[in-house]
């Protein structure tokens, strides 16, 4: 029986072969993300979400950029909004992040404070910076340094279905900033409309689901309140104005003027309700016009300004585009970022996607929006009511987690029966911990 020795060697080889095979298979795997080449054109990847009109505009801009910059190739990577930031977070952790990605002004702070973004200081000079409205430039800055470019902005107005309002006897709707409805007038209109509607239909809805929760702050500002004190650290929402705003917006749900599933916590964005005529009015942002509304709404509709209480206000929507400091081609990335906010590009993008510009030289110019330019002119006016202090409040680095707290607490107030005082208190403490953590 001298076989065993030979066999055991064979077994050993077999075993180590198996083990090596398994590990070799593991080592073989590589990420399938495109790697930038050393020779030939530098390739940079730009990851973003985009509606249909935005996607078309981005593609046009990429083509124009590549034509003007033969040594740079831009890889446009469009992903759904719901997966956008999970993917970015994972890729940042894996060292596999794109060279550039799109953010909202309200969540930019999450990234700028984590030291993952490309510092734009070497690539922009004061002449460049002065082209932009100061509010938006500070929105993309962190501790005085710029970390991207302010691409565009958007804001919310009240769209209304003319037929449904006429049927309810509401014939006169304000069309100037000076003559906006007051809160009480708006509520009266809503109730008047609701009275004429069959079951399952509602007077209006506010598009503040999920990360749109920050848009609720318009009501707080309109009531004369603030989220933060001037130090931008301590909460100011637990005030009479804050309670008033919470209670007023709570009443939308308790009085059943809005569909129950349009609270801040709703998993989906209720954009199809207005075209489907389930609701007569919709507080919606301008970027919804080209896709969801204009194509699907087969009735005459117009817009009016957000109602006032103590003052008029609106929300700071919009997006910046940032670079990552992992980028292997930071110069190329910076070039593309600057190109995105050049006059021509920003004009093209805003006109096609129904967005508002951030460049001074475009704000007063008349853009040729492709969809409902008459309404877009009103959106431009609506956006002008934001004060610099209000912009600062929503762009602090900690705002990302404050936005989550707003989403959860307002949801509890709207559909969970939570009292206004508890809501205000909870938001306050969330603000305190968020600003403390990011200090």
């Amino acid at each position: 029986m001298n076989q065993p020795r030979a066999l055991s060697r064979r077994q050993f080889l077999a075993a180590s072969g198996l083990a090596a095979g398994a590990l070799g298979v593991a080592a073989c795997g590589g990420s399938s993300a495109p790697k930038s080449k050393k020779s030939g054109p530098a390739t940079v990847t730009f990851t973003t979400w985009a509606g249909a009109a935005e996607a078309t505009a981005f593609k046009q801009i990429v083509t124009a950029f590549e034509a003007a910059n033969k040594s740079i190739k831009v890889n446009l990577d469009i992903v759904p909004y719901a997966e956008m930031f999970q993917g970015i977070d994972a890729k940042l952790q894996a060292g596999d992040a794109p060279d550039m990605f799109r953010v909202t002004y309200t969540n930019l702070g999450i990234y700028s404070s984590k030291n993952v973004l490309l510092d734009m200081t070497p690539y922009v000079d004061s002449a460049f910076i002065s082209q932009f409205q100061p509010a938006y430039w500070s929105a993309i800055s962190f501790k005085g340094k710029p970390y991207g470019v302010p691409h565009q902005t958007d804001t919310t107005m009240l769209l209304y279905n003319k037929d449904m309002l006429d049927a309810a006897g509401v014939t006169s709707v304000p069309d100037t900033l000076a003559s906006t409805w007051t809160w009480e007038e708006f509520l009266a209109v809503a109730k008047k409309v609701q009275a004429k509607l069959p079951a399952g239909h509602y007077a209006f809805m506010y598009d503040w689901a999920q990360t749109g929760a920050f848009r609720w702050l318009s009501w707080l500002f309109e009531a004369g309140g603030n989220l933060l004190n001037a130090d931008l650290k301590t909460p100011a929402i637990n005030s009479p104005a804050g309670l008033k705003a919470i209670e007023f917006t709570q009443s939308f749900f308790t009085e059943q003027l809005v569909p129950k599933n349009t609270s801040t916590g709703n998993a989906t964005y209720p954009d199809s309700l207005f075209p489907a005529k389930t609701i007569a009015m919709a507080f919606a942002a301008d970027f919804l016009l080209p896709g969801d509304i204009a194509s699907a709404a087969k009735f005459p509709y117009a817009a009016t300004f957000q109602p006032r209480d103590v003052t008029v206000s609106s929300d700071l929507g919009g997006n910046g585009i940032v670079g990552t400091n992992q980028s292997k081609n930071p110069e190329a990335a910076a070039e593309f970022l600057k190109f995105l906010v050049s006059r021509q590009s920003q004009q093209t993008f805003c006109e096609q996607a129904c967005e508002l510009p951030t460049r001074k030289d475009l704000v007063d110019a008349t853009l040729n929006w492709t969809v409902r330019p008459d309404l877009m002119k009103m959106f431009v006016q609506q956006a002008t009511v934001l004060t610099p202090f209000q912009v600062e409040q929503v762009t602090i680095p900690a705002f990302g987690s404050i936005n989550t707290a707003l989403q959860n607490q307002l949801d509890a107030a709207f559909v969970g029966g939570q009292s206004a005082s508890t809501t205000a208190a909870n938001i306050s403490s969330a603000v305190s911990s968020a600003t403390a953590a990011s200090a």
Partner: protein, 286 residues
């Protein structure tokens, strides 16, 4: 195990009353209709244009047999690529998992070695650990091994699954030792015994392992969700979620594509039902 015998007593129990037998058939048919209804509804919805669904004019029967949803969906997303990815993951996972399970099961069932009890117990105890304990560390390890974002990052970590080892050992234990003895007497060493004597007997086991592993990988969602971040690399379940994540929800397309993704499993099920049932029963063997 005494099958129902044909003694007079049991016959009278079985004969029963005719009305009961008819009732039983009716009840069963109703149950089957209820179970099949979601699939039926998927088919109806998939064949209806989305605008009809939104307008609420869709009925219980498709009005036209409109395959527009499928063609639009296929055009809009890289479904072919996603199918391929899922098949690749399935095949590679099955190859790795089944081979390692069969080897391990044999070792635990038929070989004597130090530490057997301890190792087996350790491996089996990992079945208690929920994914939420290991998901972040495994994610980081996968990143460190440069497998993040690649299909290998989905395949490799999930090979460490004790279920198949358990099943394999159960099966191997039922192989008579006399066969192995006979092989030894004939001069075969351990490896040859395994390859020539044991492995050919393992066809039922391998069939069940292959089937179940392929099914789990085909349907796997949480781990691919964590690892795959480039849409071109998605597997089908993640692709479906991607579809749902669009701004406006196209129900008709979503359901149509969900139907397409489950069809391979349904076909496999109909063809290989016996092995599915067998696999389930083996997992329940005490």
């Amino acid at each position: 195990m005494t099958p129902a015998s044909t003694t007079s007593v049991s016959y009278s129990m079985r004969r029963g009353r005719r009305s009961w037998r008819i009732t039983r058939h009716v009840i069963t048919i109703v149950i089957c209709a209820v179970m099949a209804f979601p699939i039926y509804w998927m088919i109806v919805t998939a064949l209806t244009p989305n605008s009809d669904l939104i307008a609420g004019v869709a009925g219980y029967w498709p009005r036209h047999f409109d395959i527009g949803n499928f063609t639009q969906a296929f055009a809009a997303q890289p479904w072919g690529r996603w199918f391929l990815n899922t098949v690749l993951v399935g095949v590679a996972s099955v190859l790795l998992t089944v081979s390692t399970n069969v080897l391990a099961g044999y070792a635990f069932a038929k070989l004597a070695f130090r530490g057997k009890v301890l190792i087996f117990f350790l491996l089996l105890s990992t079945m208690m650990v929920p994914i939420q304990v290991t998901m972040v560390p495994t994610f980081r390890i996968t990143v460190d091994l440069h497998m993040f974002g690649s299909l290998w990052g989905v395949i490799i970590p999930e090979v460490a699954a004790a279920f198949g080892i358990f099943l394999s050992r159960q099966f191997m234990m039922s192989i008579p030792n006399e066969l192995l003895e006979a092989a030894r007497i004939d001069g075969a060493g351990h490896v040859r015994t395994f390859l020539r004597v044991v492995l050919p007997l393992c066809k039922p086991l391998i069939a069940v392992l292959v089937l179940f592993n392929f099914m789990f990988r085909w349907n796997d969602f949480a781990w691919p969700l964590i690892i795959l971040k480039n849409p071109a690399d998605y597997t089908l379940p993640v692709g479906l979620l991607f579809l749902q994540g669009q701004y406006t929800v196209n129900y008709a397309q979503m359901l149509g594509m969900a139907l397409v993704t489950i069809l391979p499993m349904l076909v496999l099920f109909i063809a290989l039902q016996r092995y599915f049932v067998e696999g389930l029963l083996r997992s329940g063997i005490r």
